[in-house]
């Protein structure tokens, strides 16, 4: 089922311009537009371990050692632990059942308790780097406090001769105070020996170790040389021998939720529990936008009319009315207004908080259609989705005034529609025939009726650009 829907034969254009199959889109039921992965904001809901599905609210994670034997065994995910016990003095170490590594190989001291916290390795250069960090932090602080003193006004003060006349005439108390403050600040920053941190710069050397003879005389043992990925896992050591490999933290996974950028409502929100596959909110486009599938078509020949049958299916829980329209000409005003640019500024009622949201421009993916579809002019009404009626073979309500030339069959929320397709005459044999049209369907907003009691549900017409890869052009002579 997922495979059927994910096939990219029928794609729809999102409001932001990207082209996606219907199951990869969302339909925001607050702004009534189609959204896709490119125009929603992602949020991190919960973090979990991918191996044990543990919901990691506490700050820990699993550790593995970056040790694999080249090309032969997979990387151990969770090294099991064995216990090394002596009657009086129990000590524990970690051992991997896959590659027979033990924590003793990496000189990690044994622990007294099995659940004991294994020591975190710290960077070997951390003392020196901490000194450097403090030094640069002090420079940064100095720079920050310098901002407060207006350098120009200070220079102006020095340039003016007034401070030379100070002895003769004296200053008003106010000016004197200002001057003292200014000088104090300046002096404090520039000369105060206590606040100044100095650092000894690194000493360069011209005595460089020559190449070790081992490279020339020793045999290469591939099994003892770690791969680059293994080295990068321990980024500060990057060992060149497997004996120096250390355990490293396992990465955790996230559960993301998607939020519409315009109205900031969730369009997709899974449950927090990592083992749950259910959703709290799921506004996938698949459940709202009528789904179109190709059932069959007569061979496509350039410039000649062929027949094509679509199945249109309403997955929504309310009935919908659909109309077909031709695509607006490219880059026309109508066309560009379809791709609403997402920039919008909202002025809240109190005028105090102005927040700018959604600042991304539309990224329009160009599509060229290579065929003409003769679109039916009539409207089609599709009943709501009803899972029970789907299994009922006898359910048969033909109360729709359908044109039998267009609607060939009807079953529950599905309808078979016949159309005529003319591939462009200049198309070469074997190339894909692509058609496009604007599908207008009505979306019934049940949300407003439940919120503001007893109001009739709002019916909103929504336009979707559909592009369909019908099939390859066949040869006329083959017939």
């Amino acid at each position: 089922m997922a495979f059927l829907a994910q096939q990219e034969a029928v794609i729809i254009a999102c409001t932001c311009g990207s082209l996606k199959p219907v199951c990869r889109t969302y339909f925001c039921r607050h702004c009534f537009v189609i959204r896709c992965g490119n125009c929603v904001s992602n949020e991190v809901d919960s973090i979990y371990c991918a191996f044990c599905l543990d919901n990691v609210t506490c700050e820990h994670s699993l550790s593995v050692r970056s040790h694999t034997v080249r090309e032969t065994t997979p990387q151990p995910q969770q090294p099991p632990v064995s216990k090394h016990a002596t009657p009086s003095n129990r000590a524990y170490y970690l051992a991997c059942f896959f590659c027979r590594w033990t924590s003793r190989d990496s000189n990690i001291p044994d622990q007294k308790t099995a659940s004991g916290s294994w020591p975190e390795r710290s960077n070997t250069h951390s003392t020196r780097l901490n000194v450097l960090l403090d030094y640069y932090k002090s420079i940064g602080a100095l720079e920050k406090s310098n901002i407060n003193i207006d350098h120009q006004s200070y220079m102006k003060y020095l340039r003016k001769p007034t401070h030379l006349l100070e002895d003769q005439f004296g200053f008003s108390a106010n000016v004197r105070k200002q001057k003292v403050e200014l000088l104090k600040k300046k002096n404090l920053i520039l000369t105060d020996p206590h606040s100044k941190i100095t650092v000894e710069g690194s000493v360069p050397t011209d005595e460089i170790e020559p190449l070790s003879e081992d490279f020339i005389t020793k045999e290469i043992d591939l099994l003892s040389i770690p791969k680059l990925e293994q080295r990068f896992n321990i980024s500060d050591l990057q060992p060149d021998h497997v004996s120096q490999l250390m355990p490293y933290h396992k990465r955790l996974m996230v559960k993301q939720s998607q939020r519409c950028r315009e109205c900031e409502h969730n369009v997709c929100k899974p449950e927090y529990n990592p083992s749950s596959i259910k959703f709290k909110i799921q506004l996938s486009g698949y459940f709202c936008i009528p789904e179109i599938r190709i059932i069959s078509y007569t061979p496509l020949i350039a410039g000649q009319v062929s027949e094509i049958t679509f199945k249109i299916c309403n997955q929504f829980k309310e009935s919908t009315t659909i109309k077909f329209k031709q695509l607006p000409p490219k880059n026309s005003e109508e066309d560009l207004s379809y791709y609403k640019t997402l920039k919008k500024e909202i002025l809240l009622t109190d005028n105090l908080h102005k927040s700018t949201i959604l600042m991304e421009e539309a990224r329009i993916q160009e599509v060229t259609t290579t065929g003409q579809l003769d679109l039916p002019k009539c409207e089609l009404v599709l009943p709501p989705r009803d899972d029970a009626a789907d299994c009922d073979d006898l359910a048969d309500n033909q109360n729709y005034n359908d044109d039998p030339k267009i609607v060939i069959w009807r079953k529950c929320n599905k309808v078979g529609v016949r159309m005529q397709i003319t591939p462009n005459p200049d198309l070469t044999v074997g190339s894909m025939v692509k058609v496009g049209f604007l599908l207008n369907f009505t979306y019934t907003n049940t949300l407003s009726s439940t919120l503001e009691n007893k109001q009739a549900p709002q019916i909103i017409p929504v336009d979707v650009k559909m592009f369909i890869d019908v099939g390859v052009l066949s040869d006329e002579t083959e017939k």
Partner: protein
């Protein structure tokens, strides 16, 4: 007995949970990114090692093919790639949302404008970060040493770039750039391997064919490079050039492939793979001449301090023996006719980093970002959204000569 084992296992499982997980960023900190051509280094402000390394490549959202970030066609293409990449970094590796986070991007001063503008657009408009600061990688590398003057040579994957910094000011007139690096070494290894396989008289079914070598993935070449190749000394290199019969090559070995075939890696390849860095190209340039040419360009009083403060950064400079060989080459070139009358330098000195060379620029960025200077210099979200520009020295709207 069984229950006891079970009990000890559950205890043991508990013990596996090591404390401290830094995936969730605290309020005040932010993320430092160094997006290199091959590997991206990522980590948090003020930490001393990156949280991880990840290949700078991403699945193309349209075609599903894995593409390198630097293979972009135009700004729109780059925009799509960067969105995927930044999303991967934050949601997969940092396990957090980039919204309202502080970001530092360490980049080379030679980064194209389209790259930095697109990255800013992605971060501000798509991910709505709080503030962003671009730091020049050569300059911040000095932060890891506590010095103000240095000649920074960054040998990366696709190119080697050099920029002297004097008293905290980059000497832009003396920058040098050469498109040699890890990539050229790897392609050299491929040619050497091909020659070796071709030269074998009787085809061995256990060994690879020339076609196999041509289709060899870059990761395997990289692995051969990392695990076996080294930079040889100048004396040994001269012996190889003279075809000295007494020269003892390093040991050969067979590199196994997943297909069951094996690649014969000769001692000659191991020793000469990195010679592309030192071979003079058509313009008579190599990484040693880059340093000397740059020293020729700077003014007279800068020459000595710069020559005695050389910093080698970038992943390729971690190769064993490279620093020693570079010093040998520099000394030899100093005696040559080209530089004898121009440079009167007696000695060259190198710095040792309190870190691995491949993340030095990242570390400098992380140290800088932890200071108060970040807030003063960073571009805030509102400022960017109002005028949509990233301040650049060549943009007169932000860089008017002040009166």
């Amino acid at each position: 007995m069984e229950s006891e084992v079970k009990k000890s296992m559950t205890e043991a499982r508990k013990s596996l949970k090591l404390p401290v997980y830094e995936g969730l960023l605290a309020e005040k900190t932010g993320v430092v990114l160094d997006i290199g051509t091959k590997y991206t280094k990522y980590g948090i402000f003020g930490s001393f090692q990156p949280k991880g390394f990840v290949m700078s490549q991403v699945k193309d959202p349209h075609t599903g093919k894995v593409r390198s970030l630097y293979d972009y066609k135009d700004a729109d293409d780059l925009y799509a790639l960067l969105i995927e990449f930044i999303r991967k970094i934050f949601f997969k590796y940092f396990v957090t949302s980039p919204k309202d986070k502080r970001i530092v991007v360490v980049e080379s001063v030679l980064t194209p404008t389209v790259w930095r503008n697109t990255l800013a657009k992605v971060l501000f408009k798509h991910f709505e970060v709080l503030s962003l600061l671009y730091l020049p990688s050569h300059l911040v590398s000095l932060c890891t040493l506590g010095i103000n003057t240095g000649l920074v040579l960054d040998i990366g994957y696709t190119e080697a770039t050099l920029l002297p910094i004097f008293e905290g000011v980059p000497v832009l007139c003396a920058w040098k750039d050469l498109s040699i690096g890890g990539k050229s070494v790897e392609s050299h290894i491929r040619t050497l391997l091909k020659n070796e396989v071709e030269s074998q008289e009787t085809p061995n079914p256990h060994l690879v064919t020339v076609e196999d070598i041509e289709n060899l993935s870059e990761s395997i070449l990289e692995d051969i490079k990392v695990c076996s190749c080294f930079v040889t000394t100048k004396e040994r290199h001269d012996e190889i050039l003279e075809n000295n019969p007494d020269h003892k090559y390093p040991n050969n070995f067979l590199y196994p492939l997943k297909s069951g075939k094996k690649i014969p890696v000769s001692g000659l390849l191991r020793e000469t793979a990195f010679e592309v860095l030192f071979d003079l190209d058509l313009d008579m340039l190599n990484i040693a001449t880059m340093i000397l040419d740059s020293l020729v360009c700077v003014s007279r009083d800068m020459k000595k301090p710069l020559a005695e403060n050389i910093l080698l950064t970038g992943g390729t400079s971690m190769t064993p023996g490279l620093k020693y060989r570079l010093l040998q080459e520099l000394r030899a070139l100093l005696e040559s006719s080209a530089y004898k009358d121009k440079l009167f330098i007696k000695n060259f000195k190198f710095h040792e980093f309190p870190a691995k060379e491949n993340y030095v620029a990242w570390l400098g960025g992380a140290i800088f970002a932890a200071t108060e200077s970040y807030n003063k210099r960073a571009i805030q979200k509102d400022a960017y959204l109002n005028n949509n520009i990233i301040p650049d020295w060549c943009n007169l709207s932000v860089n008017l000569p002040s009166g």
